[in-house]
């Protein structure tokens, strides 16, 4: 469904992503892993149009979307979350998710409509499933670190994407919250036939849900395949996993 061909990006001579090629099949859960600074976030930014690649192409459902702006991509069904949280800190948790629904489904221009009522039920349901139902009225900027990560996941889901890119979705979440989030993600993937691509440094998460792994190192793909294969790859063990995983 999503294909990346020969994607390359450098900053002032420093090559962050170089010649990356891989594909994500529809309905699959794939993960990109790799050491810090390998270029995962940069790759995400290239795919979602936040950065312009020096070279290479991104195709979505056969259509070239290399130079499409982020908000247009969003309308084409690509949703994402950020490694560092990206929420509306002054709005309440409820309003955050509601705003995402309004942006996505429209209704934003109907200024005089009583805004409070729009997408009320969907918002409540979504908050319930990301475990924030009890905090709906709190100001988002005042949530704890983990709480903000939960909210951000909620925002990405509210955009009802076809393909979802998550950058370290469970970093900072406690074990319990992590488990709930994984369950939620799996359920939504199953129910909506969503395609998921994510990065993560928590190997338990990666190995429990990913069906495919792509390993990046110094901007290049060094391994690509089923989790078990990748886990056994000596190069991957050497640069990333270490001996214990």
């Amino acid at each position: 469904m999503l294909e990346v061909r020969d994607l390359t990006k450098s900053f002032d001579g420093f090559v962050a992503v170089s010649g990356v090629t891989f594909g994500v099949p529809r309905g699959a859960i794939s993960a990109i892993i790799g050491p810090n600074g390998a270029g995962k976030t940069t790759l995400f930014n290239l795919i979602t149009g936040h950065l312009r690649p020096d070279r290479g192409h991104v195709t979505l459902n056969g259509r070239d979307v290399t130079h499409v702006a982020p908000h247009d991509l969003c309308r084409l069904g690509v949703g994402r979350s950020f490694q560092r949280t990206n929420i509306f800190p002054r709005l309440t948790v409820f309003e955050n998710v509601q705003a995402a629904f309004i942006c996505h489904r429209g209704g934003g221009w109907n200024l005089l409509a009583a805004g409070d009522g729009v997408h009320r039920d969907e918002t409540a349901a979504l908050l319930e499933s990301v475990g924030l139902a009890g905090r709906a009225g709190e100001v988002a900027g005042f949530l704890s670190h983990g709480g903000q990560k939960q909210l951000e996941l909620g925002l990405a889901l509210a955009l009802e994407p076809e393909i979802l890119l998550l950058d370290e979705p469970t970093a900072g979440m406690s074990a319990a919250e992590t488990r709930e989030s994984i369950r939620l993600i799996e359920r939504i993937v199953r129910e909506r036939g969503l395609t998921l691509l994510f990065t993560e440094h928590d190997m338990e998460v990666v190995f429990s849900i990913a069906q495919r792994l792509t390993v990046l190192h110094q901007g290049r793909v060094i391994a690509d395949g089923a989790p078990d294969e990748v886990r056994r790859d000596t190069e991957v063990r050497r640069v990333y996993l270490g001996e214990r995983h």
Binding site: L111, L112, A114
Partner: protein
């Protein structure tokens, strides 16, 4: 909590002022009510949407020039010229608002200021239309219809003003709020031009914007009656203090500093706090 019916009470109290008879206080009341309308329109924006406009006087000025010019040069009656003030100011607010509301916080304040200064300069320089720095003196006596009853007596005029004020209870939404705020500021300006019997470029100058901001703050931002209280307080203060000293800016500045540190909620906020405290004491007693 039992709700006090403030709105009808305020209306009744407001209507009593001219009935009480003093021509001077009717004038003051007019002044207060017009500024209250102006401040309320600003509050619509600041209080409800959190956007601080530093150029709100622009719309006040547009409204004032609109009625002033229509009544003086086109000899239109008040009933046509007055709504035109609101419409034209609203139209300008829409035009500027499209750009402004995309910005946040300080940039929003700056862009509104830039637009306002722009309009001020137009008013100042376009002497053929606006009379330049001399403004338009002698806005004609106000006739409600052609040949209809005169609104020139401050009393009759006052009712119109008071009624327009009560009608401002509108809801938020940024661009809509911006346009509505602009339109109401325009109406206030239209009334003020007539009341003042003259329109001057100063109406759109940034110091006017800050004056009305101070009123809003003084009364209490975000509360519906705050700006009205603020307008009343500031005008009465001004009137009292200027007859004693020429150092009014000093006094105003000091009051403002005290207010910002002591009662950030404004007079309305202070009243609420005092009220809560008094009730608390009553209850604990």
């Amino acid at each position: 909590m039992r709700r006090v019916p403030w709105a009808p009470l305020a209306l009744v109290a407001a209507l009593l002022v001219p009935a009480a008879g003093s021509r001077f206080y009717t004038f003051v009341a007019n002044d207060v009510v017009i500024w209250a309308l102006f401040a309320t329109s600003l509050n619509l924006l600041v209080g409800y949407s959190g956007l601080v406009s530093f150029g709100h006087a622009a719309y006040f000025g547009i409204g004032a020039y609109t009625t002033g010019l229509l009544m003086k040069k086109a000899a239109l009656p008040f009933l046509l010229a007055f709504p035109a003030a609101g419409v034209l100011a609203g139209a300008f607010a829409l035009l500027f608002g499209v750009f402004c509301v995309r910005l946040t916080r300080i940039y929003f304040a700056m862009l509104t200021l830039a637009f306002a200064q722009f309009l001020y300069t137009v008013a100042y320089k376009w002497r053929d239309l606006t009379g330049g720095s001399d403004g338009i003196a002698c806005v004609p006596k106000t006739a409600l219809f052609w040949g209809g009853p005169s609104l020139a007596t401050p009393r009759a005029f006052y009712f119109v003003v008071a009624v327009s004020l009560i009608g401002v209870n509108v809801r938020r939404y940024e661009l809509a709020a911006f346009v509505l705020a602009g339109a109401f500021a325009g109406l206030a300006g239209g009334l003020f031009g007539i009341f003042n019997r003259g329109v001057f470029p100063d109406f759109a100058y940034w110091t006017k914007s800050s004056e009305v901001l101070i009123m809003t703050l003084l009364g209490g931002m975000g509360t519906f009656y705050g700006p009205t209280v603020g307008a009343l307080a500031l005008i009465l203060l001004n009137q009292q203090i200027t007859s004693y000293t020429e150092y009014w800016p000093f006094v105003l500045g000091s009051i403002l500093v005290a207010l910002l540190f002591g009662f950030p909620g404004g007079l309305a906020g202070a009243a609420i706090v005092l009220w809560a405290r008094a009730r608390g004491r009553l209850r604990s007693a």
